[in-house]
């Protein structure tokens, strides 16, 4: 395949050689792609809460409300990042079974997964996960409910800001609302391969 490398690159050079001028990179700012009217003068958390609702996600600021929500949905068995569990455990009462190791041979046993987020994006209602802060990629994906614990100070206002903060992590994923499809007759169905319920628990 090193032959293929040489042949492709030489064909590319050959194709471009006759061009007298190459198209220049435009000078621009990504500010043109920011929903400035939406964000102007507003608190990032307020915008984030509004926008995540728009994509059928849920923003909460109180762990007690989270527990309430899980109980109401009948989601009693789940996974929690071991680093988060000591602070969250006191809010979980009777009837919950929470594991701190995700066993991939039993993916269907977990109704919820609680993991830390690396941040959030207000403009789009997105939670940001990366490899370093996420304790298990599968735990944040396979259960029906995913709870991302977001630090309030890490809410970026817009998408270009979040791009600028991608950092050195080899795997960053932005999750915007529950997993969904419209493949069948254009009808929106949530919970395809990933979570059917996406919750952001915003903490200080």
């Amino acid at each position: 395949m090193s032959d293929d490398r040489e042949s492709i690159l030489s064909r590319v050079r050959g194709a471009l050689a006759p061009l007298r001028e190459r198209a220049a990179m435009p000078d621009y700012t990504t500010e043109i792609a920011v929903m400035r009217n939406l964000l102007a003068g507003r608190d990032a958390l307020a915008v984030f809460s509004e926008r995540i609702k728009r994509v059928n996600g849920i923003a909460l600021t109180d762990p007690a409300a989270l527990v309430e929500k899980l109980r109401a949905g009948g989601w009693l068995h789940g996974y929690c990042d071991p680093a988060l569990w000591p602070t969250l455990a006191p809010h979980f009462g009777e009837g919950f079974k929470v594991e701190t190791v995700f066993d991939r041979t039993r993916v269907d046993d977990y109704a919820f997964g609680i993991t830390r987020a690396a941040g959030a994006i207000a403009e789009t209602g997105t939670v940001i996960l990366d490899d370093v802060t996420t304790s298990s990629r599968l735990a944040a994906l396979a259960p029906w409910v995913h709870v991302a614990v977001v630090n309030r100070a890490q809410i970026f206002s817009d998408l270009p800001q979040a791009v600028a903060a991608l950092g050195a992590d080899s795997n960053v994923i932005w999750c915007t609302g529950p997993s969904k499809t419209a493949d069948v007759e254009g009808i929106l169905i949530e919970g395809v391969h990933g979570p059917g319920v996406q919750i952001a628990l915003v903490v200080d």
Binding site: L159, V172, I173, T176, D183
Partner: protein, 470 residues
């Protein structure tokens, strides 16, 4: 008289299919327009800038390709090159054989459709599964996708329910939610059993070597959470210079493709998983695929390589809406396909030289394109190429007599005057098959030959008229 192939296909299309394609594409287009124009004061400015970025990349691939390769290698990614579809498929198989892998789960990638990867791997004894819901349905039906973003836009829920029943995925049930849940249950165990996860890439940043994947279902994430080896098959034109440019392009891709501000999942992957992460690939391979792209690059139609595969031009195209995607006999249907598919044929250009003719050149595709590709211009260049190569064009009425008339002003004026006779002739009885076919479904408007010329003359004498013309 023979019809053009695409006309013939459209004429024989089932009413159900035509309705499904028409409704799906129209809805997609209307939502896109609303979203873009509600939120940005000048969305056309965004498209123009994005078009310039991608054109810059296309015209500088000779420096960007080696640069991104070096960056990826530094990130711990193994980089492969494949000049042809066969070479790309062989590269995937080679990586799998080296690992002793027998099972692969695939996210949606258009380039793997070009190479017919799934088909190839199955023949080699590799268990290959499409995981995007639409692509999964296409696979179990041994069908082909008919839209870049909505692969089963041509199918209704009843057909899908019958396929699921046939495949043992439960008793007949055509509720879309039930269909989706059954696919969820079936596929999640397949991810966990698989050895390799295969994806494409929507963008690749030269600066960081990151590949960017956008999905809504979460299937590509599942591939990359459950398997130990990631292979990304990527067309050589997918590059963007910097991470910074993703801020603009991601915005445009989601809005143009599915009328979303951002897709549900946007992944930025620069290498194997981090050491502390329990899930995900320990090994990452990128295969850069040419498969005809360098020939497109050498042609006068290289602008088409800007394409980011959003499907907006399909949704807006009056021909696509009536003919459906399969009418294009190619992986890429619609206006983008009418340009790209014949070019990707290389020496067999003639086989698809009819596609650029299946267009009224209305220009709607250019107006919605997030990277502002002048598709109508490119279609004209390809029509010209076909003419110069003397490729026959069945279904095109002979234009010789018209050309003769139109190049002689006196004869033209006489014909315009004489044309009035057509108002009194029984045109449906004339021995001109094309006219009869046309008249079978439409009424010929009354002849008003010469009116435009009269109007033009009067207009030129009106003071200030020239200032109003643009």
């Amino acid at each position: 008289m023979k019809f053009q192939q695409i006309d013939q296909f459209a004429a024989e299309l089932k009413a159900d299919t035509r309705a499904a394609v028409y409704d799906g594409s129209k809805k997609g287009h209307e939502k896109r327009t609303k979203l873009l124009f509600d939120e940005f004061p000048d969305p056309n400015h965004l498209r123009r800038v994005a078009g310039k970025i991608k054109q810059h990349v296309v015209e500088n691939l000779d420096t960007y390709l080696p640069a991104v390769e070096a960056k990826m290698k530094a990130n711990g990614v193994q980089v492969h090159w494949a000049a042809t579809a066969d070479a790309a498929n062989a590269a995937v198989l080679g990586i799998m054989r080296a690992r002793g892998a027998t099972k692969i789960v695939k996210a949606k990638t258009m380039v793997s459709e070009e190479t017919e990867l799934a088909h190839f791997l199955e023949k080699e004894g590799i268990e290959t599964l499409e995981t995007d819901l639409g692509e999964f349905i296409v696979q179990i039906d041994h069908d082909h996708p008919s839209h870049i973003v909505k692969p089963i836009i041509h199918k209704n829920r009843r057909e899908i329910a019958r396929s699921f029943e046939r495949e043992g995925l439960g008793a007949y049930n055509d509720d879309p939610e039930t269909i989706t849940r059954r696919a969820r249950t079936f596929l999640r165990h397949k991810y966990l059993e698989a050895d390799v996860g295969l994806t494409g890439a929507n963008f690749v940043s030269v600066e960081s070597g990151r590949i960017v994947l956008v999905t809504n279902e979460g299937n590509s994430r599942f591939c990359l959470a459950a398997t130990k080896c990631h292979i990304a098959m990527i067309g050589i034109e997918k590059l963007v210079p910097r991470d910074y440019d993703l801020g603009l392009l991601l915005n445009l891709l989601a809005r143009s493709g599915t009328a979303q501000e951002v897709t549900v999942y946007t992944e930025f992957i620069s290498g194997p998983k981090s050491a502390a992460q329990p899930d995900g690939p320990e090994e990452m391979h990128v295969i850069f695929v040419d498969n005809g792209r360098t020939e497109v690059l050498a042609s006068e139609c290289r602008d088409i390589l800007r394409c980011i595969r959003c499907g907006a031009c399909l949704n807006v195209c009056p021909v696509y809406r009536q003919a459906s995607g399969h009418a294009y006999r190619s992986v890429y249907p619609g206006p983008v396909g009418a340009v790209l598919s014949p070019l990707l044929m290389g020496e067999k250009f003639a086989e698809k030289a009819d596609l650029p003719k299946a267009s009224s050149l209305c220009g709607a595709c250019n107006e919605v394109c997030p990277v502002n590709i002048p598709i109508p211009d490119l279609l004209l260049r390809l029509r010209n190429k076909a003419k110069e190569e003397n490729i026959p064009s069945p279904g095109t009425p002979p234009m010789g007599a018209w050309a003769l008339l139109a190049s002689q002003p006196t004869a033209w004026r006489a014909a315009l005057w004489g044309g009035k006779a057509i108002n009194y002739l029984p045109t449906n009885l004339l021995p001109i098959p094309a006219l009869r076919a046309w008249e079978a479904k439409r009424t010929l408007p009354a002849w008003r030959g010469g009116e435009f010329r009269k109007w033009m003359k009067g207009r030129a004498r009106t003071p200030g008229a020239s200032a109003k013309t643009t």
